[in-house]
């Protein structure tokens, strides 16, 4: 079984990958770290993403072992600089 997630990229990570959003199809049960490895494995420019970026799953920060579900919104969050 396959799930489909929306990967979102912001700020410096958006500059790295050259787009703000992409759809990614993955095997069911894939974790956050599995998604990051998958993207980095696609080669240039995705291989330039960090191996362990901060991730927000459906708008909440999660750890690397969080499991993804169909339709999830997975945001790659560069170091934040508000204020």
């Amino acid at each position: 079984m396959t799930i489909s997630v929306r990967a979102l990229f912001f700020a410096a990570y958006r500059d790295v990958v050259g787009s703000k959003e992409m759809r990614v199809d993955l095997p069911a049960g894939t974790t956050v770290s599995g998604l990051v490895s998958h993207l980095r494995g696609l080669g240039d420019p995705y291989s330039a993403l960090p191996a362990s970026p901060a991730i927000a799953l459906n708008r909440t920060y999660v750890g690397e072992s969080a499991t993804l579900g169909d339709g999830d919104e997975v945001a790659f969050i560069p170091p934040v600089a508000g204020g």
Binding site: T60, Y61, V62, G63, A75, P79, V80, A81, G82, G83
Partner: protein, 148 residues
């Protein structure tokens, strides 16, 4: 309590006007402003990007946490995004409480938590045309259970 992320210019006095009641003997307004220099370089302006939907949730959580600290405070916070020029207000935090200590504490809490976890990024534009993303803070991840 009031929390908002917006592309519109911020009116700090209006943010201050959102807090306070007859029980409050202290009110405090913090205003963050784009400055004309950074680490020795002349700055022309700043572009703030955000993950707006998440930032709205995080800002509200921060304001709620600040309001619930100690004996309680009334909190309003507005953060801006988009293209800002030197002198523009990027964030305004207003707090009111019965005594001053809670106001200082809550105001400090809000700005420090914004720096740690609000999904906002800024690209500094220097005089001369160059621009670069400002270094930021890696948000803390939730602690994961062993072996799960």
């Amino acid at each position: 309590m009031h929390a908002r992320i917006t592309a519109d210019p911020i009116d700090p006095a209006a943010v201050l006007g959102r807090v306070g009641s007859e029980r409050d003997g202290a009110a405090l307004l913090f205003v963050g402003v784009v400055r004309n220099h950074d680490e020795g370089r002349a700055v022309a302006g700043m572009r703030y990007d955000t993950y707006e939907e998440m930032a709205a949730d995080v800002l509200e959580a921060i304001a709620r946490e600040a309001a619930e600290r100690g004996t309680g405070a009334d909190v309003a916070v507005v953060h801006r995004y988009g293209e800002l020029s030197v002198g523009d207000v990027s964030v305004a935090i207003a707090v009111a409480s019965p005594h001053r200590a809670e106001s200082f504490d809550a105001s400090r809490y809000v700005i420090e938590e914004i720096k740690k976890r609000l999904p906002v990024w800024k690209k500094e534009r220097y005089v001369g045309g160059e621009a670069q993303w400002k270094d930021g803070v890696v948000p803390a991840r939730p602690v994961e259970a062993e072996g799960s």
